[in-house]
């Protein structure tokens, strides 16, 4: 059973044209993404900054509308339902943001922040309930944190508050948008372990968004690799990590291998291209060490190579 099913999701942001340039231009943040997340699963999305991860996360819980494609939450197509049905969907999904400083209102007490989704959704809430979820995420004892303001907490504690807020309504699906990328490296593993515990304890499916493939593989049962708005490789965690097929995934893997040397640069040339000017053919070809003639002309489809392991690359055709 799937909690989330995304089919051919595209999101084109219109760019304000100048007077000289009349034709409409678009930032193609997502260019046809399909994925499904099983109930209870943690699914990882990995890709560089600008690849469209945040946009995808927002679309999956209905915060923004896709240009094309559909998203189903528990088999309900969330972009073809009315307002009141959407309100019901919002009681079943939550999101956690990257920035632990911006995601909590500096003028609200922790107890009010954590209880907010319950109040807004007219669900039952009590101090005991809030305290329980806060202690679950490691804010112990909860009474020490309840009446504090966000600036009195560390980055890691704030991010735990954000998770407590998300868990308070016992959602079925949580999008975690780079929840550890702004935390100190020393507390990341601990934090991810806590998220895994919450995944079990609350029986909540999660989408873990990250630019760091080591985070993706640490926590995700399955992984999708996103590049410039398209999935270039998708599969079980083990298959992706032990046997990366796409040249981009391999580059991401090499970047972890050198992590010890503090060198985190990708071993591929150049920067991620501007999503307004997506390269013709394979969108990765300007940076790909294996690029062939066909790569500059024909866009490769995502095809299943072995059991549930798919890749979009001409190296693996036929």
């Amino acid at each position: 059973m799937n909690i989330v099913e995304a089919e051919g999701v595209k999101k084109y942001f219109p760019v304000k044209g100048s007077i000289l340039r009349r034709e409409k231009r678009f930032i193609k943040a997502l260019d046809g993404v399909s994925l499904s997340i099983e109930k209870g699963e943690i699914y990882s999305i990995v890709g560089e900054t600008g690849s469209g991860k945040t946009t995808l996360g927002r679309i999956l819980i209905g915060l923004i509308t896709p240009t094309e494609g559909s998203v189903k939450i528990d088999n309900i197509d969330i972009f073809s339902i009315g307002k009141s049905e959407m309100r019901e969907i919002r009681k079943r999904v939550q999101i956690i943001f990257q920035d632990p400083y911006g995601s909590l209102n500096p003028r609200m007490r922790i107890r009010d922040i954590v209880s907010e989704p319950l109040k807004l959704n007219r669900m039952e809430y009590s101090t005991e309930k809030i305290a329980r979820v806060m202690e679950d995420v490691g804010l112990k004892p909860a009474s020490d944190f309840m009446d504090r303001y966000p600036h009195q907490l560390s980055g890691g504690q704030r991010q735990r508050v954000a998770i407590a807020r998300a868990l308070a309504i016992s959602p079925e699906f949580i999008v975690a948008d780079e929840p550890v990328s702004m935390l100190d490296v020393s507390i990341r593993a601990n934090f991810l372990n806590m998220m895994r515990e919450m995944n079990k304890k609350y029986n909540v499916s999660m989408l873990m968004i990250t630019h760091d493939i080591s985070v993706a593989s640490y926590i995700g049962r399955r992984i999708s690799v996103l590049y410039l708005g398209k999935v270039v490789e998708q599969g079980e965690n083990d298959d992706i990590i032990k046997n990366p097929l796409h040249p981009y995934t391999r580059a991401l893997m090499e970047a972890i291998a050198t992590l010890g040397k503090k060198e985190k640069e990708l071993h591929i040339k150049g920067e991620i291209p501007n999503p307004m000017d997506i390269p013709k053919g394979c969108r990765f070809h300007p940076r790909c060490p294996y690029a062939m003639d066909i790569c500059r002309e024909v866009e490769p489809d995502l095809v299943e190579i072995s059991n549930k392991h798919s890749v979009a690359c001409h190296l693996y055709r036929g």
């Binding site: 939550q94 911006g102 995601s103 209102n105 609200m108 807004l120 303001y149 600036h151 954000a162």
Partner: protein
């Protein structure tokens, strides 16, 4: 920057702010205690003492109908503070609402509201106040409304620009993801984050209102029946006392007005320094 006690800890180290607050408290006490400490009934005339210079009986001298100017100056603090606070309240409420709505909704709503705001920003408001006051006739409430409704544009501008950035913060999106409505987001999430700056702005609005009221009354379009510093200066001019060189008639109310305005400006600067997130990050 959260609780009041936190605020006081920072504020009490701010000399400028403390000076301002001290001046304001001084005039506040003057206004409240006027009935008890005035040596004379401020309206009592004395036909034997027209325009007498300061003496031990009449510290600030007397006016052209023999009223004690010291007593009248003490009472004058009442109107200045009343008008200052009331007009500033109108200014702040209107400015806050317009700024919130404009910044939050953006688009065409913002466009229209900001055109109106800019109009009020560029017109010489004192001239406009004179015209409208002359038209509406003098009464305390008219003066308050005219000043308040012509002075909100700087507050609206400041609030709008803050809202433009606050509405992009992730906590707003988190609330939206939990079914929060526009009204809730505006008043529960955004407003508390602009209130401190609005407070700093309000003190400026108060000093502006005190000045405007005095100017209107001085020019004769305000309410010349209530005792106020502007009114004392008005009669000093129209009774010919100034041309006769009777300085004691006009100098004390002038100094009081300037001092009280200075008090609010000092307080405003210090609040801005404390609250402005760019100057002092939490």
């Amino acid at each position: 920057m959260t609780g009041l006690s936190d605020f006081w800890k920072v504020f009490k180290r701010n000399k400028m702010g403390l000076t301002g607050l001290g001046i304001i408290i001084f005039f506040f006490l003057m206004a409240v205690l006027a009935p008890f400490i005035s040596p004379y009934n401020p309206n009592q005339t004395n036909p034997n003492l027209f325009l007498s210079p300061p003496s031990s009986q009449h510290l600030f001298g007397t006016n052209e109908i023999g009223q004690d100017l010291f007593s009248r100056n003490l009472y004058g603090a009442q109107i200045s503070l009343e008008v200052g606070f009331a007009a500033a309240a109108v200014t702040v409420i209107v400015g806050l609402l317009i700024g919130l709505i404009s910044g939050y909704f953006g688009g065409i709503v913002d466009e229209i509201l900001m055109r109106v705001t800019d109009f009020f920003l560029v017109i010489p408001s004192i001239v406009f106040m004179i015209i409208i006051s002359a038209f509406l006739g003098p009464s305390l409430i008219n003066v308050i409304l005219v000043i308040g409704l012509l002075s909100w544009s700087p507050t609206a501008r400041v609030v709008r620009s803050m809202v433009l950035s606050i509405r992009e913060w992730p906590f707003v999106e988190a609330a939206r993801a939990s079914n929060a409505g526009h009204f809730y987001i505006m008043f529960r999430h955004i407003m508390p984050n602009v209130i401190p700056i609005v407070f700093a702005n309000a003190t400026m609005a108060i000093s502006n209102a005190i000045f405007s009221q005095a100017a209107l009354v001085f020019l004769g379009v305000g309410d010349v029946n209530d005792i106020s510093w502007g009114q004392i200066m008005h009669f000093a001019l129209y009774s010919g006392a100034i041309s006769a060189g009777d300085w004691w008639y006009i100098v004390p109310p002038g100094i009081f007005i300037i001092l009280l305005i200075l008090g609010f400006i000092l307080l405003g600067y210090s609040l801005e320094e404390i609250f402005n997130p760019r100057l002092r990050r939490v």
